[in-house]
Amino acid sequence: MTIDVVFLFLQQGVASGLVIGSVYALIALAIVVIFKTSEVPNFSQGEMVMAAGYIALYLLVFRSMPLWIVMPATILAAYAGAALFRRLVLNQVARANGSPVNLVIATLGLSYVLRGFVRQTGFGDTPRSFPPVIEPQSIMIGQAAVTTLDLVILTTAVLVMAAFFWMFKYTKIGRAMRAVGMNPKAAQLVGVDLTRIHMIVWGLSGGISAIAALLISPKVLMTADMGSIVTMGFAAAIVGGFTSLPGAVVGGFLIGIIENFVGLFISSRAIVLAPFVAIMLVLVIRPQGLFGGRVEIKKV
């Protein structure tokens, strides 16, 4: 491998890595915001992405709706679905038995339900492709080849993340979410309605998953198992420290870039290993993740 090729691969790896990484970052963000506010890893996050993808596909292809209706409708549907799941199912489970394990099992249950549902409808039988939002045209950035679609994906993801961070940091509802994450009891004592906040957090997480689905669907073949992309989201979240929102974003981009480097420099067959290698490296070098705070000892 000559130095020229290395240089080319580096540029291409970073460019492609940032594009796919921005989608991983969105999924990681959706996972972490739920974990931060309810300490439940949501194992149905991938299926939320998948289900949102199929909602969009259904509206667009089978209902012939225009894209400008399909997109907000899909995001709204995912928001409502996730918020209702939190309200109707998880609240019931939490009331019946407070143990977090049961909540995790309930999210696993949802993932099976969603996958089963898509299989039932027959939609998922044949892998389908989602028509791209815009016709991809090739452009060069430095020596890296990307498409206009790639740029749209990256820009949209970054804007969505920026909006989310602004909401989380500066709005009253965002502050309430942070309060619930830090100390749910104190949040209740100042008058935060926990049920409402949990619904909104799940809704936002569902909405972000839907955006990730809309961005990634034109680039992948859609199947009922496309939710497995969530592996990358979880890897990104773990690399970032699992409780850090900025960590999730950085983790997402890192995983995307590492994945592309592995594909370019080693072998495309080794790509599946990339997230696990990244997780192991981080866990060995910095067990709390890149952005994970000091390990706090809880008072008992």
């Binding site: 502050r175 942070r178 830090m182 104190a186 209740q188 004592l189 100042v190 008058g191 008072k299």
Partner: protein, 237 residues
Amino acid sequence: MPDLLELTGVSASYGRIQALSGVSLSVPEGSIVALLGSNGAGKTTTLNAISRLVPVQSGNIRFDGKPIESMASHRVVEGGVVQVPEGREVFRDMSVRENLEMGAYRRKDPKSVRADFERILDYFPKLRERLQQRAGTLSGGEQQMLLIGRALMARPRLLLLDEPSLGLSPVLVQQIFGFIDRLNKDGLTILLVEQNAAVALSTSSYAYILENGELALQGASKELRHDDSVRRTYLGH
């Protein structure tokens, strides 16, 4: 004075552990009433039943004449019943300012919220110096002040105080209780939970003593201070 808060036969449990059985007490408007008892007697549970953090099994809780025993916790806060919890229940990673602002979460009168903010910082000049500091890095005494300040930001009509003296030096205890006295003189009604019976009995006008989740004794604080059994068990002399 009419009772601002009234509990009648309140019971509460955590699974199989019966934490409260048939507790009745009342807090007249404008008074300081103390709730005493040793570790695990059920004092915190009583406050949490009022704040609607633990479910009430049976009995009634009335605030300002209206039943609140099946209200949601945020509605109780909105109604003016605000708790200062025991321990260091601040929002650790938020600044002192954000913590205080969180106290006014349910209020919709931004102008008077700002006025209250200034007034509370006048009460606690220490907090003013540290508005930008992360709450988790405050000392124990400062966190206690922050908790009281946060509760005041909700503009309470009834303040539920859970062991404000816990872990504080005698000087700070005096300071905090001087402050509690002042709030009361300014018209705030207070239900005070304490293990430090000496201080609590000299601050309050009436007191209840809990043992194993049941009321064991009650009376005017002045008289309880001279009661032999109280002196032996709770005052240690």
